[in-house]
Chain length 157, copies 2
Amino acid sequence: MDDVREEFQVLDDYLTKHGLKHSKQRVVVLGHFLDTSGHMTVDDLFRVIRRKHPRIGRTTIYRALKVFVDAQLAEAIELRDGLTRFEHKFLHAHHDHMICTECGTILEFLSPEIERLQDEIAEAYGFAIESHRHQMFGRCQKCTRSRSRSRKKAVGR
Amino acid sequence: MDDVREEFQVLDDYLTKHGLKHSKQRVVVLGHFLDTSGHMTVDDLFRVIRRKHPRIGRTTIYRALKVFVDAQLAEAIELRDGLTRFEHKFLHAHHDHMICTECGTILEFLSPEIERLQDEIAEAYGFAIESHRHQMFGRCQKCTRSRSRSRKKAVGR
DNA sequence: CTACATGCAAAATCTTTGCACCCCG
DNA sequence: CGGGGTGCAAAGATTTTGCATGTAG
């Protein structure tokens, strides 16, 4: 709570506004969430946090992330491994993903042109978009180059 | 096996080619899979099949669908409810989806222009696309109209 | 006959819930 | 104090796996 980053203020405001409590755990989880890559699973985060805060349970992380999603600080994304990952949403514009099925690397991209076409299509169908996701699966540049010596660590099930 | 649809021939060829067996169950599962909407979960299919073939277990359906996916007769898609759904792939061109979060309706769309832009983006990143999915979540025309009397049957978790 | 297929039950995973206890406001 | 929060364990839900048995080729 000695951390005065603006993000914490956002959480603070959200909690107050919704009559929720400002617990120590939530601040810890938010701090670690913001300090990590931004494509973490609950378990990734749990393992990181456990090192410094062994008393914080998985359940709390699940619940904290839900609060963050509601507070627009995080966004849940799903790739193809059955796990939910959480992205930073605060001050992080919308984008979509390219996921390397070889090494798991996640590249972000944004195409205003695609977004526009998407809106046109939805409109043609009378469909009111609330959210979308556009994911490409394949090999990143690095893994395409080293195709021969396949380092197995695929993301798929 | 008195069904001589071309799709069965494709499965037949695939099984033979891969040294797999042409079991009665696989034909039954394929028949029902092809007769249904094409966005079925394993359980949807299981419940339909169970009525006529109570001896066929869930496991067999899981395994049969895996064979169909390998045989390019089906494709696994995931929306946002944690379930894997299976689409008809045979003679069914690639397309993407709009999913109504109100009534669960799935609309299909295809935009060659988006596909082209997508390829350009991937190329710029040196990313070799193997597959992709582009999903929009929101309200279909029908549910947008009847927004007031909300018929709760959402797809989301 | 041999190898793959099946079906049941058990295991594996990820996530949610029940509940007693804790603590913020 | 009171209502939300936490943590543990148990429950849920979906999918996979082990194993004995069945059957296609």
